[in-house]
C-alpha cells in the first residue's frame, strides 16, 4: 500500500522535482499559520520567542493549562455555548425552511411561482451591506437585541440554500411523487417521506456550508450581541484583539485553537462533501 503511494522514483525529471518542491513549499505556507497557532498554545509561555520561536510544540502541560485558563477565567466557555446554539439552530432552521420552499419551487406549479422565485434569486446579488443596518434596526425595534432569536432568525431565509435545494429536488422523478400520492400521502407527507429523504446528499452539503458560514460569522453577532452573556466565540476573540485588552498571545491562540476545532473536525469528516459542495456552486453559478 505505502509503496503504491510513493511517487515512482524512476521518473525523476527536472520538471517533477520542480513540481514537488513547489507543491510542498505551498503546503507549508498554507499549513504553517495553523501549525504555529497550535505551537503557541503548547509552548511554555515563559520561554522568550527569541529562544523558542514556536516552530514546534514544546510543552504539553502548558497547553492544557492554557486551555483550562481560557475556559475558566474568561467568558469563553459561555461564548462557546452561544456559538454552538447559534450554529445548530441556524442549520436546523435553514434546512427546514429552505427545503420546504424548495420542495414547492422544484416540484409543483402554483400561481406566482416564477415571480417569487425570481425575486428570491435576485436577492443573491444584493450585498450583505445593504441589509445589515436596517435589519439591525428592525431587530432592535422588535426588542430582540441580545437574544437568540435575534441572532438566528434573520439568517434563516437563505436564498442560496433555496437555490441549491431547488436544483437538486428538480431531479426527483415525478412518478415517485405520484406513486406516493396514490399510496395516500398528503402534501406534507410527500415532502416529509419522499422529497426530504431523497435529498439527503444536498441537505448534508447545505448543512456543512451553513455550519462554516455561521460558525465563522463575525459581523452579525458583532451587531446583535452587545452584552457579554450573548457574545459568540468570534466576539470574544475580537475582544482579545483590541489594544486595550492586554491579552497575551498564548491566551489568544488558545481561544483561536478552540474556535478552530469544530470546523477542523468537520473538515476531516466531511472533506469530500465540503469540497464537492463548493465546487458545485461554481459550476451552477
Amino acid at each position: 500500500m505505502s509503496i503504491a503511494l510513493l511517487p515512482r522514483m524512476s521518473r525523476i525529471t527536472p520538471w517533477s522535482v520542480a513540481k514537488w518542491t513547489l507543491a510542498i513549499c505551498i503546503a507549508i505556507v498554507a499549513a504553517f499559520p495553523i501549525w504555529w497557532m497550535f505551537n503557541v498554545v503548547f509552548a511554555d509561555p515563559g520561554q522568550p520567542v527569541s529562544l523558542n520561536p514556536r516552530l514546534y510544540p514544546t510543552s504539553f502541560s502548558s497547553g492544557i493549562s492554557n486551555i483550562q485558563r481560557v475556559l475558566t477565567e474568561t467568558g469563553y466557555l459561555r461564548a462557546y455555548y452561544v456559538s454552538v446554539a447559534y450554529t445548530i439552530l441556524t442549520i436546523a432552521g435553514v434546512l427546514l425552511v429552505s427545503s420546504m420552499a424548495a420542495f414547492e419551487f422544484a416540484l409543483f406549479d402554483f400561481p406566482g411561482k416564477r415571480i417569487l422565485f425570481a425575486v428570491v434569486m435576485l436577492s443573491l446579488m444584493v450585498p450583505m451591506a445593504a441589509t445589515l443596518i436596517p435589519t439591525y434596526l428592525l431587530v432592535a425595534r422588535l426588542g430582540w437585541l441580545n437574544t437568540m432569536q435575534g441572532l438566528v432568525l434573520p439568517g434563516l431565509a437563505s436564498a442560496f440554500g433555496l437555490f441549491m435545494l431547488t436544483q437538486f429536488m428538480k431531479s426527483i422523478p415525478r412518478e415517485m411523487l405520484e406513486a406516493a400520492r396514490l399510496d395516500g400521502a398528503s402534501h406534507f407527507q410527500l415532502y416529509w417521506h419522499v422529497a426530504l429523504p431523497l435529498s439527503r446528499t444536498a441537505l448534508v452539503t447545505l448543512a456543512i456550508l451553513t455550519f462554516m458560514k455561521t460558525w465563522g460569522n463575525f459581523i452579525w453577532p458583532l451587531v446583535v450581541s452587545q452584552k457579554p452573556e450573548m457574545f459568540t466565540v468570534s466576539q470574544v476573540v475580537s475582544l482579545f484583539n483590541s489594544p486595550l485588552s492586554h491579552t497575551t498571545v498564548d491566551v489568544v491562540m488558545t481561544a483561536n485553537l478552540l474556535a478552530a476545532v469544530p470546523p477542523l473536525i468537520f473538515f476531516l469528516i466531511f472533506q469530500r462533501r465540503i469540497v464537492e459542495g463548493i465546487a458545485s456552486t461554481g459550476s451552477k453559478g
Binding site: P173, M176, E178, A179, R181, L182, D183, G184, R200
Partner: protein
C-alpha cells in the same frame, strides 16, 4: 357487471385536445390493454383513471360512483409505474407497506399484508433489501407487490415492462397473466407493444390521436379490424396495403386492378358499399400470401428485395408489378435474394378500406 365506465371523457391542455370523447366499459375482473403509438393518449387516459390528471369533461365511474374529483388515494386504484417509482430510501417491505403506514394501520396488519403479497410474488427473501440492490425484474415485482397490498378495485399498469430486457419481459408477461388469473381483479394495462397487448388482453383498446380506434378481443381485432390504423397496428409483420381500383362487381366476388399495373385481383366480398371505378386500399396479411415457383392465374410475380430468415418462418420483402412493396411470411421455405417467385393472395382474406381508411365490410 361493469366495474369501470368512462363516458364522453375528454382532456385538453389549453387548446390542444389530447383525448376526444372517450367511451369505454371495463367489466369486473377483465384484463384491458390500452395500446397505441406514443402520444396517442393512452397513458393520459390511464392517469385520468388514477386521478393523476384532471378530467376536462365527461365522467369516470368506478362501481357506479363518479370519481372525477375523488382524491387519487381514495379511488381504490393502484398503479404500477414504468420506472417502478420505488422509494430508494425504504426497504422492500417498507415500500410495500408505505400506504398502510400512511393510513395508520396497526403494525401487525401491515406485516401480514406485506408478507402475503411477498408470498404471491416470491419476494420473501428480498423484504429487507433496498431497491438499489434489486434487479430490474425484482423491482418490477416489488412495484406490483406495492399495488397488491393496497387491495385495489382496479390495477393500473403504465408500460410496466418497457424497462426490462427482452427475455425478462416475456417472463414477466407470463407472470402477469398468471397473477391476473390468481387475483381475478380488474386490470388496465398500457403499452405501445402490440405483442404484449395481444398476449395479455381480454379486451384490447387500440388508440390513435386521442381517439379510441377499436375495442375488442385481440383476435377479433386481428381478423376483423375496423380501419386501416388498427389493421396496420395489430400484427407483425405489418399487414400489406395495396392501392387499387374496383374493376368489377360480381356475385360474392369483387375484381380490383392494382394501381400502376394491369394486374387484376379477384377476392371474396359482397360488394356492399363499393362501386366500379372507386379507389380503395386492399389489405392482406403477410401470412395470407403464398409463394410458389410457378406462375398461374391470380398470381403476381414478386421480385425479392431481401429475405429475413428467422428459422421457424421466413419473411420475404419484395415488389410486385406496379411498384407496391409486399411482405410475405412463409413457413419452412427458403428463398434466395434477387430471385423471381410468384405470389398468390388468399382471396378469402383480403380486406377492403375506403379512401378515409375505413373498413368496407363484406356486407
Amino acid at each position: 357487471m361493469s366495474s369501470l365506465e368512462i363516458t364522453n371523457a375528454h382532456k385538453n391542455y389549453g387548446a390542444v385536445e389530447v383525448l376526444k370523447d372517450i367511451c369505454l366499459d371495463v367489466s369486473s375482473g377483465e384484463f384491458v390493454v390500452f395500446v397505441g403509438p406514443s402520444g396517442c393518449g393512452k397513458s393520459t387516459l390511464l392517469r385520468m383513471i388514477a386521478g393523476l390528471e384532471e378530467i376536462s369533461g365527461g365522467e369516470i365511474r368506478l362501481d357506479g360512483q363518479v370519481i372525477n374529483d375523488t382524491d387519487p388515494a381514495r379511488r381504490g386504484v393502484a398503479m404500477v409505474f414504468q420506472s417502478y417509482a420505488l422509494y430508494p430510501h425504504m426497504t422492500v417491505a417498507e415500500n410495500m407497506g408505505f400506504t398502510l403506514k400512511l393510513s395508520r394501520a396497526p403494525k401487525r396488519e401491515i406485516t401480514e399484508k406485506v408478507d402475503q403479497a411477498a408470498r404471491i410474488l416470491q419476494l420473501e427473501k428480498l423484504l429487507d433489501r433496498k431497491p438499489g440492490q434489486l434487479s430490474g425484474g425484482q423491482k418490477q415485482r416489488v412495484a406490483i407487490g406495492r399495488a397488491i397490498v393496497r387491495e385495489p378495485k382496479v390495477f393500473l399498469f403504465d408500460e410496466p415492462l418497457s424497462n426490462l430486457d427482452a427475455e425478462l419481459r416475456i417472463q414477466m408477461r407470463a407472470e402477469l397473466a398468471l397473477l391476473h388469473k390468481r387475483l381475478g381483479s380488474t386490470m388496465i394495462y398500457v403499452t405501445h407493444d402490440q405483442v404484449e397487448a395481444m398476449t395479455l388482453a381480454d379486451k384490447m383498446v387500440v388508440m390513435n390521436g386521442g381517439v379510441i380506434q377499436q375495442v375488442g378481443r385481440p383476435l377479433d381485432l386481428y381478423d376483423d379490424p375496423d380501419n386501416m390504423f388498427v389493421a396496420g397496428f395489430v400484427g407483425t409483420p405489418r399487414m400489406n396495403f395495396l392501392e387499387a381500383e374496383v374493376a368489377g362487381l360480381n356475385a360474392g366476388t369483387v375484381e380490383a386492378r392494382l394501381s400502376g399495373s394491369d394486374s387484376g385481383l379477384r377476392f371474396a366480398h359482397g360488394g356492399a358499399g363499393l362501386s366500379v371505378g372507386q379507389k380503395v386500399t386492399l389489405g392482406i396479411r403477410p401470412e395470407h400470401i403464398a409463394l410458389s415457383d410457378h406462375g398461374g392465374s391470380a398470381t403476381f410475380p414478386l421480385s425479392i428485395g431481401f429475405v429475413e430468415e428467422l428459422g421457424e418462418s421466413t419473411c420475404v420483402h419484395g415488389e410486385i408489378p406496379g411498384g407496391a412493396r409486399v411482405t410475405v411470411l412463409s413457413h419452412g421455405a427458403r428463398f434466395a435474394d434477387d430471385r423471381q417467385v410468384h405470389t398468390c393472395f388468399d382471396p378469402a382474406k383480403v380486406l377492403v378500406f375506403d379512401q378515409q381508411g375505413r373498413r368496407v365490410r363484406s356486407g
